[in-house]
Symmetry: D2
Subunit: 247 residues, 4 copies
């Protein structure tokens, strides 16, 4: 099949498929409906969040970012009040440790005086193995209109969340992310795709979803382990209680 309407699309795409990552999967596009249903989660403790269990690797203990590296060494993001905050313009930060299969807990809060619209409203992201972005965005109650596979809880540009249980700005949200790492063939294509099951505020939003490929322009693709990367997208987002259990 090769419809004329695709021709210009294919031409455009030539500019985009220059990275090793894009050799693995087709480029993915956004779509705008249907919206996930809005769900109010049950009462979630706003005090201290969920502490790390005994077998977890703590990635933030409320005091420092010693488990992380930034663009030029130590991260320049701000640590305060038991949380840390994206310092816009200082770049993404990544964990020093790398992981294969894991359960990741991470809490995030948008400021109550948030401004901006669409993808510029509270945008950040949690990159699993540095490659697969779980979107962070302020999309409480579906009020901030954007493409549904770019909402909070989406596997970026791939799967929208099943429902939308996000809490409003000024309140903490918790991601519990179960990641199954991919395995690879000799030619670096997937033998088995990565998969994600995920809760947001205790509500299932991804159910063993197949990740089609990386959502970034990362060049090294077929690695078995990778760090957790948090994105500086020019928006203010707060994080706390970050821990990983290796599976």
């Amino acid at each position: 099949m090769m419809k004329p309407i695709y021709l210009i699309f294919v031409l455009m795409s030539l500019f985009l498929i220059n990275s090793a990552c894009f050799a693995q999967i087709p480029i993915l596009n956004t779509y705008d409906s249907p919206f996930p249903k809005v769900v109010a989660p049950g009462v979630i403790s706003q005090d201290n969040g969920v502490a790390a269990p005994s077998d977890a690797v703590s990635l933030f203990d409320g005091k420092d970012l010693s488990e992380w590296t930034g663009k030029n060494g130590n991260p320049q993001w701000a640590v305060h009040d038991g949380m840390f905050t994206v310092a816009n313009g200082t770049g993404d930060i990544s964990t020093k440790k790398e992981f294969s299969d894991f359960q990741l807990h991470i809490e995030f809060m948008h400021p109550s005086d948030i401004t901006g619209e669409g993808q510029m409203r509270g945008n950040s992201g949690v990159f699993l193995q540095g490659l697969y972005e779980i979107q962070v965005l302020e999309t409480y109650n579906n009020e901030n209109k954007t493409y549904v596979n770019g909402q909070a809880g989406a596997i970026y540009r791939q799967h929208p969340p099943l429902v939308n249980p996000l809490k409003k700005p000024g309140e903490w949200n918790a991601y519990d992310i179960i990641f199954t790492a991919p395995t690879f063939n000799a030619d670096k294509t997937y033998r088995t795709n990565p998969r994600v099951t995920m809760l947001l505020n205790g509500i299932l939003i991804q159910n063993n979803a197949v990740i089609y490929g990386c959502t970034t322009d990362e060049k090294i693709f077929d690695k078995l382990k990778g760090g957790i990367k948090l994105q500086d997208h020019g928006c203010v987002v707060n994080y706390r209680n970050v821990w990983v259990r290796e599976l």
Copy 2:
């Protein structure tokens, strides 16, 4: 292959394969190792537990068992102090509503003065669609020795929990169970097996585990929906905060 050692085993089994359910899968056996690692979960609120989100079907609101039926009509299990307790000898109870794919939250607590050993220590069970038992047993810290695929958090006689994050008697535990219902072929065999992902006290204990077949002697097998059944196994177990989200 047909080794002599199996002969008496096969003969014995003739007594066991008389139900419709066992036509679907081989009978499953117990095994005793390896033990799941003990994990202490982070601090879990012991006050009120996790309330139902806005899109959930509440199966127990702390006041009555009106969503359930017992052996002879209304359940005779005791409701008190915002919880309900197995009344030994009065039989299992089941929800009136039936479900296909769902997320189930249910909290349980063994009494602090618990006695008994092995499968007679705090035994109950949560039967998904009335057919697939998630074991409830007092196996805190792996101290109560029993077969590992019969521990708390096991898919009974099939999959042990990945780790053991159970809390000690007198403290509440929470199951968060994501169930994917099976689909069936015309001859009532599975087209796709049921699957379970499951957290115990926020810790992953089953990760998209394939359920091989029903764990009961239920006769009606290929149903698309079924209730949640709680087992009276002659032990005292308390439950609260039971809710289901249909997926």
Copy 3:
């Protein structure tokens, strides 16, 4: 994440996401490497091909296209010599019967005097349930350069074949396609994706591949059954020995 380079891409895509089908998945793009390895299959009988087994629905018995419909009723494709041939400009043809899960056997041959290049060299396609295209193209020995997920044996614009065992023009090829139909959620999104395992000339070329979504602009998307559609893409392609076993 929203890099500037994507902006024009997203704008372009607005023209493409107007169908119901594209609401299900992102638009997919082509990619050009790595090429599947060329494999010469063992000796395949060129005489009569593989006859239908006893439980199959025969879709072409060598004599007529009575199991098919065309754009305006009876297909206008030519039946001759125990085979049938695309009549360019007369449109696609579809089976009258519809199928859910199935094993499909279909043989195809490009003429030995074939001309054309890229997607215009021997292009046709087998659309499973009318929605998911298995590409037919003359790409013997990888000599006809085109995007790899548009080769013969590709799930069109999604998965390239694992290897390339195509025979040269003038020789018959056989597809054996095992299709697992999708199941759907209430909002018409996939509950489980369709999957394909596939042999070309006895060689595995797709191994339980996840189909991301339909490859067509079909409007009715969430149907449980669908016919087999063969494409008139303006190229001469011969078919014979078409049969389906419902699973």
Copy 4:
């Protein structure tokens, strides 16, 4: 759950769970219905069978068993007429090469003067990675009564074939077996189970079936590669055209 009827069963099983393999899965039992539907495959060439494709490892070229080892070194099975035959009492034979994921083609024929009943009628077996038995048995037309998960085409004691397309004694049958090797956790439990898709005489008989665990008493369990083993079960079975493609 612990019904009295299981007690003697559990006691019996204590004798059976002494191998490393049985720690991985429950012991599996046989069952007797429903029978797979009998299917007559299309005409299959009985002359030379299916030769190896260009990328295959040939495991039998019609002349010798140099790719195999037996109980005491070189196999003592008989090579004659382009085939080889089980020499009863000389033990199983295994390939020298080991494999991970693969496509295996193997043809087998029971003698036309076959005698015996049940599991003693033409019993042999193809052990994938030496651990997972694909049953070989003379069960043409379901006439030789045995448990259905012990028929030809069964994953032994686990999955019966979907249908029964076996040819009668004196005619060649062909297995085309697509094996996906398991991956393992640190504690030697499965991270992902092995899976099998399989054709018998061109007819699908296993569709991405999950293998629950090994079907043998092999002690070394968590290996990533393993040979193909053919079983001497005291019955006369002929084999030819054995080749493997590594995936």
